[in-house]
Symmetry: C2
Subunit: 480 residues, 2 copies
């Protein structure tokens, strides 16, 4: 039974998504600014949690943050041939400023390889200056034709790492380390969302990259969502911007660079991976509010009794559990239950006069709706119980997503099987096709190669499409 205002997933998954965004108060459409959204407080708080989890991993792996200009001279884009082809059609241009026409327009950064490359060329002189390991948290803009809250918006928020290395081996190691230790680790442990790690085929790689690696997650409709990318840029941008250094043998060499990013798109992934027909579900480790405490009373005497118990049981929670006591006076308990359910708070604690009498509280899990997720537990030892319950929920969400993915992933050995498999999930198959083959399959099925998984079975097989011997398997799916 779905909530008022939320279309059931089974009826219309796409509308369900938009309903969750609206009902959980995550975003508003900025209809006056084409393709943009407002990240409302509930939505932005999730982004802050994502930022915190990523930022600590980015720093622990030796990177520092910096901030580069929003505007990029338009001519910079043209310095790397593939890059300009990829991004020029979708930039917003500043042509007037301070009341005057500019002689050269600027573009609002769609990504910052070019402007950062310009500075790295100034900063890098010697092998002693390497590696450069810098990350930036920023807004970027891509004038997309079709937009969808969080998943695809003209302006979005992200982090973009940009590093410089002396050798190809170091650049490749960085690219993969970010994919594994930062992105996959964060998304799996904090977002409770299993990801495939793999390489993009040429048709899906970043414009200007040598190789693009990605993490791909499965949504509840079986479609894939690219959750993050890590690019080995080779020497392409180093040559375009002259990022060179004197090596230990006193020879001047071009450097090797990488870039990698994840964006507010992850909020979309979070919604589509875990939420249900009752609203949003946020994994405990990411939840801005992990526990909502709802006091229940009918009169001042009951209120005094209940609030006293509420204060007592939450004593010492600060710093351990992120909680909120919903003390709003003009709303019913039922209204409050509903609101926090729709907003995805992992655990609800109800305290009424009878609970006070019995020395217990009612504990409701957001991930298990209805009676099955509700229990009555003693106030004694509640803190420990809540802490372990939060860990339990985190694990349950991950396992559920993992099981769902396993159930919706099929190893296929013919094109017909592939066509059937991608109707409900991922198709894994041997592959020896080229870009033209991928294009035809996309036209026929709307599915694309999501990645060539880093984890390969080894050996050889028969390509699903060309029938030729193949040395690698790929994952096909429809995607967001």
């Amino acid at each position: 039974m779905a909530k008022d205002g939320i279309t059931p997933r089974a009826k219309d998954y796409s509308q369900w998504y938009l309903d969750i965004v609206r009902e959980a108060d995550l975003a508003d459409y900025a209809e006056v600014v084409r393709g943009c959204i407002v990240f409302k407080p509930t939505g932005y708080a999730i982004w802050e949690s994502i930022q915190a989890g990523l930022d600590s991993r980015i720093k622990e792996s030796g990177h520092v943050n910096a901030y580069f200009p929003l505007l990029i001279p338009k001519s910079f884009l043209t310095k790397e041939a593939e890059h300009v082809e990829g991004f020029a059609p979708e930039v917003a241009e500043v042509t007037r400023a301070g009341g005057e026409e500019l002689t050269e327009p600027y573009v609002i950064r769609p990504t910052s390889e070019t402007i950062i490359g310009y500075f790295y060329a100034k900063w890098v002189r010697s092998y002693r200056d390497l590696p450069v390991l810098i990350n930036q948290w920023a807004n970027v803009m891509r004038w997309e034709m079709r937009t969808r809250p969080f998943l695809r918006t003209a302006e979005f928020l992200w982090q973009e790492g940009h590093t410089v290395h002396a050798t190809e081996v170091e650049a490749e190691a960085e690219t993969l380390m970010i994919l594994d230790d930062v992105y996959a680790d964060f998304i799996e442990k904090e977002m409770a969302l299993p990801v495939l790690r793999g390489l993009k085929t040429d048709s899906e790689k970043f414009p200007g990259a040598l190789r693009t690696y990605c993490v791909e997650a499965m949504m509840q409709d079986g479609r894939a969502l690219q959750a993050g990318t890590s690019h080995n840029l080779g020497q392409n941008f180093a040559k375009a911007f002259d990022i060179s250094f004197t090596d230990q043998a006193n020879t001047v060499q071009f450097a090797w660079t990488t870039s990698w990013g994840v964006s507010t798109r992850l909020i979309g992934a979070l919604i589509m991976a875990h939420s249900d027909d009752d609203g949003l579900i946020v994994p405990p480790r990411l939840a801005p509010i992990q526990v909502i405490v709802v006091p229940i009373y009918k009169n001042d005497a009951e209120k005094a009794l209940v609030m006293d118990a509420v204060k007592r049981i939450t004593t010492g929670w600060k710093g351990t559990i992120r909680f909120k006591i919903d003390e709003r006076e003009h709303l019913t308990a039922g209204f409050k239950f509903n609101e926090w359910e729709v907003k995805g708070v992992p655990v609800r604690i109800e305290v009424g006069p009878k609970d006070v009498e019995k020395g217990s509280v009612a504990l409701a899990r957001r991930d298990i709706p209805g009676r099955d997720g509700k229990s009555f537990v003693p106030q004694d030892g509640l803190t420990e119980r809540v802490v372990s319950l939060l860990a339990e929920i985190q694990d349950a969400l991950y396992q559920r997503a993992l099981t769902f993915r396993a159930e919706h992933t099929r190893t296929v050995t013919s094109y017909d099987e592939l066509k059937a498999a991608i109707e409900t999930g991922f198709a894994v198959c041997w592959w020896d096709g080229d870009t033209a083959d991928e294009k035809r399959i996309k036209e026929e099925t709307r599915a694309t190669v999501r990645c060539i998984p880093n984890d390969q079975p080894g050996g050889t097989g028969t390509c699903i499409y060309t029938g030729r011997p193949a040395t690698k398997t790929v994952v096909f799916a429809r995607s967001y």
Copy 2:
């Protein structure tokens, strides 16, 4: 004796500032993007500390973060008469996007009252929706003619709070609460910088505000720096954007709004308030690195001995002291001392073979240069000693800035005295002048009324300029 590359303050304060920015590696000029800078990692890390300290205060006082679009329809600016006059001349305009001319240009936000006002008008319906207490961390752009790193740049980073209230009293209380409990508290406690809190005169208030309050700090050349502003916007923006609500008596009323912001300008204030001819000085509570540990050795045997001691003495520091061990191999100890001095790290610990032998370390305070700031202390109890030393340095920097301000503030009773006083600092005087008087004084002395302090002596006096009876005192100074 100043460091290589740093002009002494006494010789040229303005050049000294630029030298510190460069030598401490805080920023780079983005000459290809007019008036913009790159916030380099050392500079950006200070901004991250500032963000953390402000964000926690903003949240503890009941606000939540959100994010609104970068672009604003140009027509929005014109809806508030004073606002358009103040900002229209300095905006950057987006006129093309996605390869096409736009029918209505957008401006890059110079500040967000208008675009946020538009959304608040949609969101606020009833008195139950109030107050709205939202803050945004964002980049903004003002096409300034003369720029200076951190102090005035075309693009800068800031937070901007935007709140909506049912009554004028509540809006005024919010405006003052932010000034006192968020801005002054943060700047004094974390940045170790005393501030005056007061009201701006009409000529210096925010375009569109009813009243602008500010915190003003004194730099080492006696000039004032506006460190933050908090505006009671009255009903001006509510009327321009139709932010109205149904009150408890079922009457529709315009709301009262406020806005308040501090920016990366604070990094400039930090530099100019505390630093010396040897480089940057960062107060311990704000310092990304509070303690730099420099191991000193000549050979592998000494290295093993020294590093063993270094690991031992820093055990357990994580989470208590923000420290770094400078293990770089190709640099001399002297080079390292100099680098961390220039970058302003509050405490340096040196550990050499003799220190290991004696069970001691050398401890150097950045705020007291040379021998006077250096002591040799036992390794036993070092953690406690360092923690208390950091607090001591924090306090010493604040007291030094407070004493400096007291010594450079004069109560003046004639215009001639005022002219003399503002050559070296602040002039406090009775004031009954108008905007035209202020303008003449500015032309003659380059000094302006920095604020009408909230803390007034009471009673009446004689206006320094008009000779009329005056009921308030003001502070005149030259400013950044």
